[in-house]
Subunit: 447 residues, 2 copies
């Protein structure tokens, strides 16, 4: 292997992968990824972020061939991919590849479900495309994480565009050369900043990645050409967007090491890094009972990313409150809640929550893992209660069960599409691999 | 001024600018910018890059409200902006802000002409939007050039998206807060690599910048929010995409120092950095007469960017040949040509050109300016002829006259839309400032 052949080798693998090549455990994780994503897309469908994106851009939509999940609108495939990518991520409740903090499904599933409506594909082909797309974006993420993320890139956007190109490219039967171009066209659209966290642009990133990655595949299918070394060239994606480039993470052990198997699903509707604090504070709430109203102070010892990403002291809106470990800890202690209802505008402005939030302190605990936290609560009478969360719920060590994913889906979908439709969508989601027409699942999810 | 207020201050200026605030000389340069751009968009309209982009993406177009210049297709405004951005740049024959090598008109004019078809605007409002957009992108470029460009970013794409957002934002009457959001939405879509030079993705960049910048303005109009410090935040655009950040270039002397006045127009259809070599070789051809067939060697002493950007020794296609100073010098010596006909697939494969191309040497001349070159031709009999170009034609010191811009327009447009339409379009272009409906110019340019 030379470092001049990364994009082409990845493209070769992407187009050659057969559904039978995917181990059963990876396929199963792919289905879990899909079901979790579908529930999140339904759960976020009525968010004002989606309302405004549709108000602005639906006038530019092509023919109504693809469903905006959980709503009445149908748009062209690319615009539906954008909107579903936004809704699936807007509650920060989706999935996480923990090694890179990529949220893999948004860019990939949003793109292929929309495309699958206009040119029907089997569940088997859909699942293989989904797994390939997730694999590609996570491997590219591994190659540059954490330096790329530390520089300020929202890695779900920047790598998601490759995942969407890979997955849609498979549905379009791109050949190896076209897939290499598709990666180039994707690379040169790669974008999205962490600076946008707490604003509507955060969920715009996976949406745009889905839309732009799909467009890259359609362009490549029409022989719109590009660099053949877009990832590894001296001024290619990895060098321009990162100071770390570990190309072995992209092309080594393709087909035997599976990043797509390492996806995890959020029990809480916020950045994965504050899940340990929510988990721990929810446990402490159980222990404290009515004493929860007599807290003098809360001390959190956390991974450094917790403060870097979620250090907002005075969030003003629901979206901002997802980036406040202080808010999240207070709500978990007072209400035992980390689901979307914990991060509404009302919660962000609730005086009781604000009063407790202001008594939460957080500092970096050297050496602590990302999925761990140490918490010490001191009561007004001076009593001190401590808790150590080694692995937060939702981590690879404590994954959400299929039943928990179903329950999470149901709670998100029922208020949006009603119990009957939610039940049918859940059933269809779990049955993905055996269906003859994956796009039918989208039509099922109309409001 | 603090460095925490750059995006907002730029937005405030963008929305407050009145047409009367723009000095006459800047307005005149704006008209020249428009006419030159329109001719280039017509000249590139039949390029296979445009053919393939339309084949791939027209199926996703919304209602046919905006003209693809020089063609029969009408698309929605955002897709028309994309296609016209591609066609205006695909021949590398457009315009250049020499301080940054930004090609300013492509992202900006492509966006607003398309938008002006669907919601009519006067020529005066159109011209003010064009000037504002060009001003914004060039100022943002100044703040990060050359470090940003050296890292590998195609600066026309990365800054063009701001220019398009500014100009379309004016047509949509964004308020200051919305314009600040529009810049944020633009920033987080900023993309495009120099790695793509010589491929179809190069002209895709200004097209996508036009489309995405326009989308940013429409989103902001619908109150889709974003960071309010997208350019200057610690992990904002300037810090993530560059190691240089000179914010004074963005906000100092707004309304008195005009970057939009510094636009220049290419006499040759390739990267601006090899214009001195073409100019010089064309002059040498005159001097050499029939001795041009007896050249033993050609030595070029150039700015370092010439070799970095246009050092392709063996270009295989017309697009690649634009990135070969060797090819360009050979064609200029043999045919006195630097227009689009110098960079076709046929020319790239012409044995006579290849034979001379292989006898051209180029080396960096320390201290030489970007618009200069030293050339030495040695004949087979040992005679040596030298030439020093101090300022290439098309530079600010030797700008193209209005007549030369008209002639360049005519030569590009006539083969595409015929002499009558070309003449009407030229007339309408120069009359931009006084027209009541700028969008009518687009409809005039249908094939």
């Amino acid at each position: 292997m030379t470092d001049t052949d990364i994009t082409r080798r990845l493209a070769a693998w992407t187009v050659a992968l057969r559904p039978d090549d995917i181990p059963e455990a990876v396929r199963r994780e792919g289905v879990r990824t899909f079901v979790n994503w579908l529930g999140c897309a339904l759960g976020g469908a009525r968010h004002e972020t989606v309302d405004r994106a549709i108000a602005a851009l639906a006038p530019f939509s092509g023919p109504a061939r693809a469903q905006v999940l959980g709503r009445s609108e149908r748009l062209d495939e690319l615009h539906a991919a954008l909107m579903n990518g936004i809704s699936s991520h807007v509650l920060d409740y989706d999935d996480t590849h923990l090694k890179t903090i990529i949220h893999p499904a948004g860019p990939v599933a949003s793109a292929i479900l929309a495309v699958a409506e206009a040119r029907p594909v089997t569940g088997e082909a859909f699942l293989a495309a989904l797994v390939a797309g997730v694999e590609v974006e996570c491997r590219i993420g591994n190659a540059v994480y954490p330096e790329h993320y530390d520089r300020g890139w929202h890695i779900t956007g920047t790598t998601g565009v490759f995942g969407a190109a890979a997955a849609v490219g498979r549905l379009l039967d791109l050949d190896e050369r076209q897939m290499t171009w598709a990666y180039g066209i994707a690379a040169t659209q790669s974008s999205g900043f962490r600076e946008m966290f707490g604003t509507m642009c955060k969920s715009f990133h996976p949406g745009r990645a889905a839309q732009n990655g799909a467009a890259a595949a359609f362009l490549a299918k029409a022989n719109f050409d590009s660099s053949l070394q877009a990832i590894e060239a001296p001024r290619g994606w990895a060098n321009v967007l990162s100071t770390k480039q570990d190309y072995g993470e992209i092309v080594d052990d393709l087909g035997t090491r599976w990043e797509a198997k390492l996806n995890s699903y959020k029990p809480y509707a916020c950045g994965i890094v504050i899940h340990p604090a929510i988990d721990g504070c929810s446990q402490l709430r159980e222990r404290l009972g009515e004493r929860v109203t007599r807290i003098r102070s809360v001390e959190l010892g956390t991974h450094y990313l917790v403060l870097e990403l979620t250090g907002k002291r005075t969030p003003q809106t629901g979206l901002e409150s997802k980036f406040s470990v202080y808010h999240a800890a207070a709500v978990a202690l007072l209400h035992g809640d980390g689901t979307p209802t914990a991060f509404t505008d009302e919660r962000a402005r609730d005086p009781e929550i604000i009063a407790l939030r202001d008594r939460v302190q957080a500092k970096v605990e050297p050496g602590i893992e990302e999925d761990a936290v140490r918490i010490a609560v001191t009561l007004e009478d001076g009593e001190r209660i401590e808790l150590h969360v080694e692995h937060a719920i939702g981590s690879l060590e404590r994954p959400l069960s299929d039943e928990a994913i179903t329950e999470k889906f149901r709670r998100q979908a029922e208020p949006v599409v009603g119990a009957d439709t939610a039940a049918r969508a859940i059933e269809a989601g779990w049955a993905l691999a055996g269906t003859g027409d994956a796009g039918a699942i989208a039509r099922l999810c109309a409001a």
